[in-house]
């Protein structure tokens, strides 16, 4: 089926070549990091995880979000999603490729990365994270590819795929749960030490993933002969609406627990993020922007008038993607490290070099997504014709 990705318009090839250019530049920057070390980033012994791990966390969410189309279709037999499950699965593949790359670029000694499997350590959450991420990637590749091929050949997909499809659903939940456990099981990090971290990650994932799918569906409808469908986009919009409401609700639960209990270790991180601590508050404007974006997102998606209008729905989805990205990508990781275990405030900001490598990883993800979607849309167009 890959040959379908080799036939495209001029715009398609321009996009692919542009992505390749960005990837090349990112790769050169990465070679520099490999040579010098992670010192080219803004990380320090106090904020020892930064932009890479933050984006990794966000993209695990995007990957898990794909299950929001798989689950209704396969478990509830919601037929309308039959058209778009493949888009959810392929989005998960692209997101997972980026996740694994972000982990790789974050390692101080990437050549030793496979030590995780060579010395399997069952008490480390990272070991399980490596297992579920790779497992979910494999599942989506196998399921997505085979189901699409069956559709192309006009036959029902193979029987043995069914159990794998069912397994993929708890797997999607597991990837983000395990990723949250990386943080929430650490003593002495008050911001993450909360049982609601995994549910919070999932709710933001189920908002961000489907929101991105809505935008992608609208784009596909505009640029190709394949229409993912009005009903499908509306259903996704409804999922986004519920998920973003739950996400904000969970966040408010956190605020209540921290500020009603008045335990300093739990309050300090939130204070740092939203009002600044000891005169440091680099993230304050970002966090309030994030909150505003999510609230506007709620208003636009919950309100039937604006949700049913595809233009305002698209705006809402873009706002929600931005809002949840700031929340998870900027706040969640730095927020947990500031103040540090000795209650000193040492702030973090990514360097341009670090951002360059990040953009390179995103470009790889975009290229994977482009090729997979081109293939999927090609099959859909073929079948329709």
């Amino acid at each position: 089926m890959l040959e379908l990705a080799l036939k495209g318009s001029k715009a398609y090839w321009t996009w692919v070549v542009a992505l390749l250019g960005v990837i090349g530049a990112g790769f050169v920057l990465y070679l520099g990091q490999l040579q010098i070390g992670l010192g080219i980033t803004g990380m320090s012994r106090d904020v020892s995880w930064g932009f890479y791990i933050a984006n990794f966390t966000y993209l695990v969410g995007v990957a898990a979000g794909g299950v929001m189309v798989v689950l209704p279709y396969y478990l509830h037999d919601y037929k309308a999603y039959g058209k778009v499950t493949i888009l959810g699965e392929f989005l998960a593949i692209a997101a997972l490729v980026m996740c694994l790359l972000f982990i790789l670029v974050d390692l101080g000694q990437p050549m030793r990365g496979l030590n995780v499997f060579l010395y399997p350590t069952t008490n480390s959450v990272l070991f399980y994270d490596a297992l579920v991420l790779n497992g979910y990637l494999l599942i989506n590749l196998v399921v997505g590819w085979n189901v699409l091929e069956a559709e192309r050949n006009g036959v029902h997909y193979q029987k043995w795929l069914k159990p794998i499809i069912y397994i993929s659903i708890p797997f999607a939940v597991s990837i983000h749960t395990v990723t949250a456990f990386l943080y929430s099981g650490l003593p002495g990090r008050g911001f993450w030490l909360t049982a609601i971290l995994a549910p919070r990650f999932l709710s933001s994932a189920f908002a961000a993933g489907p929101a991105l799918l809505v935008l992608l569906c609208l784009f596909i409808r505009k640029t190709t002969k394949f229409d993912p469908g009005k009903e499908q986009i509306q259903s996704l919009g409804l999922t986004v609406a519920y998920a973003i409401c739950i996400n904000v609700f969970f966040f408010l639960c956190e605020i209540f627990v921290a500020f009603y209990s008045q335990i300093p270790e739990h309050m300090d991180h939130i204070k740092y993020l939203f009002v600044g601590l000891h005169g440091h508050g680099a993230l304050v404007p970002w966090m309030w922007t994030s909150m505003a974006l999510m609230v506007i997102g709620i208003i636009l998606t919950v309100n039937p008038g604006t949700r049913k209008n595809e233009t305002t729905l698209a705006v809402a989805c873009a706002l929600i993607i931005a809002g949840t990205w700031i929340d998870k990508g900027l706040g969640m990781i730095s927020g947990g490290f500031v103040p540090n275990p000795l209650h000193e405030v040492n702030e973090y900001a990514p360097t341009p070099w670090e951002i360059g490598i990040t953009v390179g990883v995103y470009a790889i993800g975009a290229l994977v997504l482009t090729i997979l979607y081109k293939m999927a849309v090609g099959v859909k167009e073929e079948v329709r014709a």
């Binding site: 070390g37 101080g108 000694q109």
Partner: protein, 263 residues
């Protein structure tokens, strides 16, 4: 086409079998391969304990200058680099304020003398270390023989999960080549330098204990730091603990730190 695919699967299967058998081969092989040369011998002078622990008499250190000799001794001995760029900072043992060392004991009004004096902080070699729990490769591990939390610099993948897990900020990461922060003529050739991209920290001077010497900071402390076996009721450490009121850093977290402070 078909036959080559089948062949490939066959080869892959054989390869997987080989990989699976590797641990078994490893278990039998070393003795035959290296003979007696590979056996580790312990120096007869080596200091041993069930669980090493340290008691720092903070009352004896009045000013930062009083702590300088210990920090200097440790960092010099272990080739700990010094960087002007704060982000790249590496420290095994350092001085901090009372409210930074003990953020959970924030009495508003305490004896001025206690509050103003500097405090030495280092790896606590916890009995229940969260860093060891977090490490995905067992590159950091608690040595069964004496409870020291050790680092295998050759296995560490540099994921920094241990740094996030440590509630004491005791771990440092080599963000750049440590050689850049060392003066070449002052390098201690008897202690290995690290490479970039790995985590490091205090090791209670395992290399000195193995030769019958006390840790460098203990030696430089003029008796203000006592070091010994926590599990031995007759040890000096236990005696000091019996006679003095001591506190530990964030002991509410259940990590069971093995560095005690007399304040």
């Amino acid at each position: 086409m078909k036959s080559s695919r089948r062949r490939f699967i066959k080869l892959a299967g054989i390869a997987a079998l080989g990989l699976g058998a590797q641990p078994a081969i490893k278990a039998i092989a070393p003795a035959a391969e290296h003979g007696s040369q590979m056996q580790f011998t312990q120096s007869p002078n080596a200091l041993t304990a069930k669980q090493w622990a340290m008691v720092i008499d903070a009352r004896r250190f009045k000013t930062p200058a009083d702590l300088e000799p210990m920090i200097e001794a440790c960092h010099k001995l272990h080739n700990v680099p010094h960087f002007t760029e704060k982000r790249h900072e590496i420290k095994w043992i350092w001085e901090t304020h009372y409210h930074n060392a003990f953020p959970n004991v924030p009495n508003r009004f305490i004896s001025e003398e206690t509050e103003e004096r500097p405090y030495l902080v280092l790896c606590n070699h916890c009995q229940n270390p969260p860093c060891v729990r977090a490490c995905p490769t067992q590159a950091t591990f608690k040595r069964a023989s004496d409870g020291i939390v050790m680092m295998d610099m050759h296995r560490c993948i540099g994921c920094r999960f241990c740094m996030a897990a440590c509630p004491y900020g005791s771990r440092s990461f080599n963000f750049v080549d440590p050689l850049k922060g060392l003066v070449e003529s002052e390098i201690n050739l008897k202690y290995p330098r690290r490479m970039k991209g790995v985590v490091e920290k205090c090791t209670f001077c395992v290399e000195r204990l193995a030769e019958g010497q006390m840790p460098a900071c203990v030696e430089a402390s003029n008796g203000a730091i006592v070091f010994g076996d926590l599990e031995d009721p007759e040890s000096e450490v236990r005696q000091v603990l019996r006679e003095n009121f001591t506190i530990r850093r964030k002991q509410n977290l259940g990590t069971e730190p093995c560095v005690y402070y007399i304040v």
